[in-house]
């Protein structure tokens, strides 16, 4: 398969597959983080199913957490630019 003296194409294939898995793992790790915050905010006593109010709270929680992250990032960049800290 590999040309003598050339790079093994299986290596770059492996790198590609590993990068895809890393991205998937990052997504999963983020979901765990959201769960940590949003479960406490949205779920009272666990029932026999999640009612629609809870479902919608969980979805909103994710969106608002991301919005908050963006707000903080942007404002912090401005603060730093103005010479603070």
């Amino acid at each position: 398969m590999a040309e003598p003296g050339g790079p093994d194409p299986a290596v770059s294939e492996l790198q590609r597959l590993v990068a895809a898995e890393e991205q998937r793992a990052q997504f999963t790790a983020q979901v765990h983080n959201f769960m940590d915050v949003c479960w406490d905010k949205c779920v009272d006593k666990p029932g026999s199913k999640l009612d629609s109010r809870t479902e919608s709270c969980l979805a909103s929680c994710v969106e608002r957490f991301i919005d908050t992250t963006l707000s903080i990032t942007n404002r912090f960049a401005q603060i730093v630019q103005k010479g603070g800290h």
Partner: protein, 98 residues
Amino acid sequence: MEGGFGSEFGAAGGGAGGKLDPGLIMEQVKVQIAVANAQELLQRMTDKCFRKCIGKPGSSLDNSEQKCIAMCMDRYMDAWNTVSRAYNSRLQRERANM
């Protein structure tokens, strides 16, 4: 993850032949990732469900506590799916706007 990836992939790494089998290696990688994710899920689920279901810890888990734990586990996984879908949607939307 403990132990790193090196030693477990010796066989799939081709041994004396030196030829990599990406398919075989990735199978093992995916299994390890799945195991680590399951451990993470269980640890966090246990924390949340203990807090929701157990008031003053007694000398054993009574029936209502056990039922609560079972329901809590199911709801935690339902919530996980909801959060996962919401996050995925947001990512798609952000990518569409780029």
